[in-house]
């Protein structure tokens, strides 16, 4: 058990370090790649106007991150549920 926990611990540590390093490197804006692509498109084609806008947008960044967390939570819940079931079956009486 101890051996198998090490990689997960390393992975969490890696994420923490990445976020820490991200906040330290103030020179970058940490914008999304989609936003950067948008800038390139308007540089290459100054006349291009997006011809369609999203049908609904989250009213604020907070609500947007709520919905993203919800998406991750749904995924994590299903993953945990199914894996738990698989594992539980091993110990269940036949």
């Amino acid at each position: 058990m101890r051996r198998s926990r090490l990689p997960s611990a390393l992975f969490v540590l890696l994420i923490v370090l990445a976020v820490f390093w991200a906040t330290k490197a103030a020179a970058s804006e940490w914008a999304g790649t989609d936003e950067q692509a948008e800038e390139v498109i308007s540089e290459l084609n100054p006349d291009y106007e997006p011809w369609f806008s999203p049908v609904w947008e989250p009213p604020s960044g907070e609500i947007e991150s709520l919905l993203f967390s919800l998406q991750a939570a749904v995924g994590a819940f299903v993953l945990g549920y199914v894996i738990g079931r698989f594992k539980g079956k091993e110990h269940a009486p036949a």
Binding site: A27, T33, W51, F86
Partner: protein
């Protein structure tokens, strides 16, 4: 990240819809048949979809000073093959387009083509090439990392085709400098996660063989 709403000219939107729709429809049909024929495939299908949901919600900082998110399609393509992966990805992309203003309805076809079809297809080919030669972890890692990275190489070309500027290749290189370079560390992280998940799954479930996946 996906191509934003309205940022592909209508002609290209239509083109990618025509490209993606038959694959997604076939994937939906195959997923249904698979679950009917083998009810034990249902929880595995849920795991594959959940992995896409979870990973594609995580926007992570990368070495380029910008953020992107992994795709999570590697596990799905190893377990179920490219067409079912296309179907699962299109569900996630639709969710994000409607509720998160991430990606878009007009660009859904193009984003499904990159994240759901061409990227995972490349990953799948890598998996097939490696699976008898290396350990499961290595082949799954490679498949997931390649599927993730190729998704954004395709995105770069989709944008370059629509906005070629002076030279198609030079523009593609610019977009790849944004999408693909940012993606490299994320693709590696995704590969590691996918390999762990698969190693865990083979411990408890009999995985479908690639022959079953194709049939």
């Amino acid at each position: 990240m996906h191509i934003m709403e309205g940022f592909l000219p209508p002609g290209w939107c239509a083109f990618w819809y025509v490209f993606a729709l038959p694959v997604v429809a076939y994937g939906a049909y195959k997923a249904k048949k698979r679950v009917e024929g083998d009810p034990s495939a249902k929880p595995l299908l849920a795991v594959a979809a959940a992995f896409v949901f979870l990973l594609s919600a995580l926007k992570l900082p990368s070495v380029t000073g910008s953020c992107s998110h992994p795709t999570g399609t590697g596990v799905a393509v190893v377990l179920f093959g490219p067409s079912i992966t296309a179907f699962l990805s299109s569900i996630v992309l639709l969710f994000q387009a409607l509720l998160l203003a991430h990606g878009g309805i007009t660009t859904l076809g193009a984003n499904t083509a990159s994240m759901g079809i061409i990227g995972p297809l490349c990953g799948w080919l890598v998996y097939l090439a490696l699976k008898d030669r290396t350990r499961l972890e290595v082949s799954v890692f490679s498949a997931a990392a390649v599927a993730d990275l190729m998704t954004y190489v395709v995105t770069s070309f989709q944008l370059a085709l629509a906005f070629p500027g002076e030279s198609l290749l030079r523009t593609a290189a610019i977009f790849m400098g944004i999408f693909a370079v940012t993606q490299v560390p994320l693709a590696i992280a995704e590969g590691v996660l996918a390999a762990y998940l698969m190693r865990y799954l083979v411990k408890y479930v009999a995985l479908p063989t690639p022959r079953e996946v194709v049939a």
